[in-house]
Point group: C2
Chain length 207, copies 2
């Protein structure tokens, strides 16, 4: 009932809720309680309720939440209610994993194009996407693609980011293990899979 600003931490958790809700719907459950949902995402019930309270009343007291309705609302907030087209740059091991990852569909993403520098790869098809030469990056604006995924080797990351920005991209998901610099108006999310593993030993008690 507030409709104020939604905290960043809540936004960070919304995709997780959405994933669980879709899963729950597929199982044929249309009603879900904050407790059940919390268990599915590894949180606690009051956290779930607080998060949802930032954008209106979707539950019914004594009953729970309507999974479909809630999922629709989350999609709307995250702007996933329209198909989001994305361009992938770099079809190596990481790039291939991204192209074949089933999870993107859940969120309404369409990886519409893929680019690489290797002439041998140009023209090949992976999962219905034809690989094009990076020189064709500038066609993105015309094709109405506003999201870029960087999966190139470390040394080419910044250069790729620059090209994506010129091509009119508004958001970048960066898998290269380095910090990239872009204009403030562009949003970048960096994932370094090794970096996340590096946190693990700290939390493990000595044998």
């Amino acid at each position: 009932m507030r409709y104020g600003r939604i905290p960043d931490e809540t936004i960070r958790r919304l995709p997780g809720y959405l994933r669980a809700l879709v899963f729950s719907s597929e199982q044929g459950r249309q009603r879900i309680s904050s407790r059940t949902l919390a268990d599915l995402v590894g949180a606690n019930p009051w956290q779930v309720r607080k998060d949802f309270s930032y954008f209106g009343d979707f539950g019914t007291r004594g009953v729970g939440y309507d999974a479909e309705k809630l999922a629709r609302q989350i999609r709307k907030i995250l702007k996933l209610d329209v198909v989001q087209k994305a361009a992938l740059v770099g079809v190596g091991n990481v790039g291939s994993a991204v192209l074949t990852h089933p999870g993107f569909r859940v969120y309404g993403f369409d990886i519409a194009v893929a680019f690489d520098v290797n002439p041998k790869k140009i023209g090949r098809k992976i999962d219905r996407v034809v690989i094009e030469d990076v020189s064709r990056l500038r066609t993105l604006k015309r094709r109405n693609i506003r999201l870029g995924i960087i999966a190139v080797p470390r040394h080419a990351a910044q250069e790729t980011a620059d090209k994506l920005v010129v091509a009119g991209v508004k958001g970048i998901l960066n898998f290269s293990p380095r910090y990239i610099t872009v204009p403030k108006r562009i949003k970048v999310i960096t994932i370094d899979i090794a970096m996340d593993l590096a946190r693990l030993p700290y939390y493990i008690p000595a044998r």
Copy 2:
């Protein structure tokens, strides 16, 4: 000068600092200021200094930090000063990307084993690692491996986690797009690459 508990958020940032310090050392710079380091990781100087202040004085006023010394200390805190052996389960697209990812070496990881269920893959070698049958997971304890990486399809994730726990693993890096349940003593970090992309459209202003 405090030597108290180090905040979780600081721990989360340490691998990033380490990566930047290694990079800086490779460039031949042995001294680095909080400002330079902050620029390399996309943070601000006082954040960097505050983070380091939780585990002693490593800088020299008017000069900066000794990159090597600082890197050594971060490795020690994160328990990366000894080689950490890890086991990978699932050598599909994501698994292959993990195996060939150059970043793990920076943090002193050794992905010593890989497992899969596909008989066609058993015995094959990827990046010097021979793929074994999942039934051999129980040999992990004997081989002194305490970290597991899950890169199997969604439906097999929980089962794989259970097997890893039985095999004596203490920490799990989970790439499957679902929440997995393990005993409290086991630390799990989940990365869903699609989930992170899902956050991006929210931050992009409407056209």
